[in-house]
Structure formats: C-alpha cells, structure tokens
Amino acid sequence: MSDFLKIEGLKAQIDADGTSKEILKGLDLTIPKGEVHVIMGPNGSGKSTLSYVLAGREDYEVTGGSAHFKGQDLLELEPEERAALGVFLAFQSPVELPGVNNANFLRTAVNAVRKARGEEELDAVSFLKLAREETGRLSMSGEMLKRAVNVGFSGGEKKRNEVLQMRLLKPSLAILDETDSGLDIDALRIVADGVNSLRGPDFSSLVITHHQRLLDYIVPDRVHVMAHGRIIHSGGPEVATLLEKQGYKQFLEAAA
C-alpha cells in the first residue's frame, strides 16, 4: 500500500470551439500514503487540469494512462464517489451557489460522505456543534454558515470555506489547486494549518502552487516540477528553493 495515489502515463484533452487540445501528455506521479507532495510549474503546464481530472471534471477527456487511488481505478468513478473514497479538491476559484445555504450544503456533503463510508450520519444538532467548532478554529464568523455558499464571500473567506469543508469531510487525499493565490499571510497560515492539522499516516496531499511562500508553512516530502503536461523533475524540498532562486529555465532545458 505504499502507492497510495498512482498515476501512470495520464493523457487528457479539452474540447474548445470544435478543436481538441491535449493538455496532459503522459504524466506519471506516485504519492505514497502519509506524504505531502508539491507540484510547481509555469502557467499553462497543466497543473489545474491534473487536479480537475483527478476530481472527475467531465470537460476533460482522458485519452490515455491511468490513475489509481487506494487501489481503485479513480477514472472510473463519479466525482461524488471519489469524494467518498477520500479525494478532496480545494478549488482555485470556489464556485458560488446562490440560494444554497452554507450550513445545509456542508451537512449534506458530510452526511453523504459519511453514509458512503459506512459511518453514521450526523443529526442537525451534532453537525452544527461540529461546524461551530471548526469555524471557530478557522477564525470564521458563524454568520458564514448562514449565507449562501461562497456568494458575496471575499477571496480569503472563500479559501477559508474550502479549508472548512476539507476539515469536515476528512479526506485521505487533499488536492490544493493554488489555494494560496491571492492570500495574505494570515489566510495563508490558515490554509497551511488546515493541511498540517490533517497530516498523519493516513493522509496525503497534493499541493499545487506557484510560490515557494506556501512551502514556508507546509513542508513537503517531495517536490515535482511540471511542464508541458508532464512531470519533468522530482526531488526533495530543496527543489522548491532552487526554483525560487533560479526559475524553471534549467529544468525546462534539461527536459528538452
């Protein structure tokens, strides 16, 4: 079970305006159980596509390769089945759901996942208690539970709401898609604390970021460099430092 998440030769494309564009071009990535891995890469390298494909977004068509999680063929599963299995994607731009009450949304999601995992569903009272604890922990106002999901939320509030969902859904694989973009230091710390608080032998994470900054708070086990739809280099935390200093150029040249 050391290969918790195993991606092999993954190819994916997107159709836009009648033409298909291949974005993932044979990507290999393995994340063992309990590890936090980081993917860094220039714009357009396919980082976000990878996160969407893993979460099951239908716009992307997988044309080759495989992705297994906990031994299951991830690509065969519906998005909600992946969530039940423990995959959690923190969105780069969390979607607004006008008219959908945040507390109701969270409880429905938590109970759907608990049910699928064979756990007991939470009643309204115990859920609210739990939600209050978690919002307090994230320095979110209780008011946010009463509002519609992400509607009228500031950038920071949206990211906190993503972390809140992550804490409540207790995933075993958290994918953070540039969750750190546009955040101030306080918010950044909250996101990092969210991940760190879940760290343990049964929790892995894939952190997609542009910046070394987040890695001051989340210390990764491995760092991968992604370009042109592939992982072109992998190494320890020192890779991030190197990238910060010298940019992507040397990796791109080495791969070319």
Partner: protein, 399 residues
C-alpha cells in the same frame, strides 16, 4: 371546425346569454392572438363546459383539513363556484359585502380574454373590505373545484381603505377535468398594503384562466406571489396599476412545470404615476414535457417620471423535451426612468453541479439542491414568515 362552432364556445356563450357580448371575441383565442401566442386555447374547444354542481360541505371540509393551513385569522371557502358559509369565518374588523351587479369588464382589464370570460359567466365570490387603518391579519381563501366538463368563474373583490393591511393566502385546488376562471379585483387605497400569495395546485387535468387586476393608491403596496404548479394549461395573469405616486408593486412567481402541462405567468405592471417602484422575479423549473410561458410587460406612462422598475425571469430546463417561451417587454414613455429586465434560459450550471459532487453529494441530490436553491431565492421574497414556511414545504424534494 371553426372556433365559434366549437362545443366549448357554444356552451359558454349559451350560458352567458345576453352577457356573451362581454366575451369580446368570436371564439377561444388562437395562436394568432398575440397575447395567447404561446398559450393557445384550442385544446379547450372540445368540451361543452357546464355549470359545476354544488359539493357536500362535509367532503369539502375534509379536503380543507388535509391542507395543513398555517395559523390564520380568517377563512373563506368556495366549492365549485359557491361560497361555503358554514366553513368560513372572518375577523371582526372585516366584512363580506353583498354581491352587486358586477357584470362588466373592469376597465383595467379591458381586452383581456380571461376577464371577458369572467364578466360573461361571473359567479359571486368574496367581497372583502378592510376599513381605514385596520390590519386584518392573515386570511386564507380556499377555492375547490371538482368534476369533469364543468367550469367556475368566481369574481372576488378586495378593497383596502387607507392604511389598511391584509395578507391573503389564496389556495386553489381540485380534482377532475374542469375549467376555472377566477378574477380578483384589488383596490389598495393610500398607504394600504396587500400581500397576496396564490398557491395554485389545481388538478393536473384542469384548465385555469385566472386574472387579477390591482389598483394601487399613493404609497400603497400590492405584493403578489404566485406558486403556479397545477393544471394541464394554467395561466395566472396579473395586472397591477400603480395609480398613486410613491406606490409599489411586486409580481413574483415560481412555476413548476412537469408532465405535459403548460404553466403561464402573464403580467402587466403599469406605472401610471411618478415615483413608483416595481419588482418582479419569476422563476420557472421545467421537467419532462413541460411548457413554460412568461409574458411580462412594464408600461411606463409619460407622467410616470422617476419610475424604478426591475424585472427578472429565469427558467431552468431539466429535460430534453421541456420548452420555455419568454416575452419580457418594456414600453416606456417617460424619460427619467430606471427600468431594466433580464431573462435567462438554460440547464443547471455544470460548475455548480461539479462543485457539489466533488464534495460527495450524489448527483441527483446535487441537482435537487440546485433546483431548490433556484426556487428558494424567490420564495424568500414573501415577507410573511409562516406563509414563507408554508410555501417552502410545497416545493419539490424539500430539504
């Protein structure tokens, strides 16, 4: 078969006798009549609509008990076009007046077929009067129709004197293949406030041509909300005239259309005085072979400067066979106005759906949640709390 030789027309004009002239047409409106282009009435031609027979009070009472009505201050019951006095009661501050000779088309509703039909075949309905400054609380009116090939044409009139208030829950339901054609005339004097919630859950075989004409005095308010849910072909028509300055009207609705049914919300908001506001939100959810219609006009007279009018209609198509026809319309003759409308038609938002599913919510449940949310935002426009809760319970897949 020409329209005026159809069984329906023969029966209706026969019943109307001398008053048939009030119908103003030579047959049920066809697609060629602009106002009925999306809701033609030919499907009603084949039935010789008869007067609905009286119903037994005990049976009616049973139906009402099953409605789980919210706590109310008064109840008016009509069964097959007749007032059920024994089942009704009203608060002390309010009277029900005798029905007079009301067999003319109200000028406000002139040229509208539903009003012409009502004028020609009119049956006395509620004549409610709330005196100066009184708050009559929440009154529930239930209109029940049962039978096949029968029609009812109740005419209600509601008058609110200066500063009076009333909340009216207007429930219409029934069983069978009938035609119901109620008309309600509303007069809100200065500073009067009528909140009118219509819950239309007629039989799935029924036809319904309902019309409301409201006249609103200075600083008065007519706040209308319709849940348009029943009937094989059902139009709810609201004409709201802002006759006094600084008055306000809301003409909101949700329509839930499934099966092979057609629900239609047609409205005219007439700004006839300066400094008035109007708001309209209409949302339609269509599934199966449902057909939805929205026609909404905002008319602003030359005198109605400083008008503030806003209208939004949105439709959600949940099946390949469903269809929506919308005609939002602005007719504006004053220059210092702020009027806008918006319309959208489409399926559920894929991004929202994916977001919910990625959080573990099952697809079907995610769809329900989004439909719920779509409707919820409109129901929340109803100010009266217990009424709002009552309506929420009526929504499908109640969470």
């Amino acid at each position: 078969m020409s329209e005026n030789s159809a069984a329906a027309w023969q029966a209706l004009t026969g019943r109307a006798g001398e008053r048939a002239a009030l119908l103003g047409t030579e047959g049920l409106p066809t697609r060629r009549v602009e106002a009925w282009h999306y809701t033609p009435l030919q499907s009603l031609n084949g039935i010789a609509w008869q007067v609905a027979p009286a119903l037994d009070d005990a049976a009616v009472k049973q139906r009402i008990d099953g409605l789980n009505l919210p706590t109310h201050d008064g109840l008016l019951v009509f069964a097959n076009g007749r007032f059920c006095k024994g089942l009704s009661h009203l608060p002390a501050c309010m009277d029900v007046q005798e029905y007079g000779d009301g067999s003319a088309v109200q000028p406000l509703l002139a040229g509208r077929f539903s009003a012409g039909l009502n004028a020609a075949l009119r049956q006395p309905g509620a004549r409610l009067h709330v005196p100066v400054g009184k708050d009559a609380g929440l009154i529930v009116m239930v209109s029940l129709t049962e039978g096949n090939g029968v029609s009812t044409h109740l005419h209600h009139s509601i008058t609110l004197d200066e500063g009076a208030r009333l909340t009216l829950l207007d429930i219409q339901l029934g069983e069978g293949q009938y035609l119901t054609n109620p008309q309600m005339d509303v007069h809100c004097a200065a500073n009067a406030h009528l909140s009118h919630v219509t819950k239309q859950v007629e039989s799935r075989e029924a036809a319904r041509l309902a019309i409301v004409g409201a006249c609103i005095g200075e600083r008065g308010n007519y706040d209308s909300f319709t849940l348009n849910q029943g009937g094989v072909l059902a139009r709810q028509e609201v004409v709201s005239q802002l006759s006094g300055s600084f008055s306000n009207t809301n003409v909101n609705a949700i329509q839930l259309v499934d099966g092979s049914r057609l629900n239609d919300l047609s409205s005219m908001i007439h700004h006839a005085s300066p400094d008035c506001t109007s708001r309209q939100t209409v949302r339609t959810v269509l599934s199966e072979n449902g057909q939805g219609v929205f026609q909404g006009k905002i008319l602003v007279d030359q005198i109605a400067q400083k008008t503030d009018g806003y209208q939004m209609n949105q439709a959600l198509l949940l099946s390949e066979k469903a269809q929506m026809n919308s005609k939002p319309e602005l007719e504006i003759y004053a220059d210092d106005v702020k009027c806008s409308h918006g319309a959208t038609v489409g399926a559920l938002d894929e991004d929202q759906l994916f977001y919910l599913r990625s959080r573990g919510v099952l697809e079907e449940q995610a769809r329900d949640m989004l439909v719920q949310a779509f409707l919820l935002e409109t129901v929340e426009l109803v100010e009266h709390e217990s009424l709002r809760d009552y309506l929420l319970k009526a929504l499908p897949g109640h969470v």
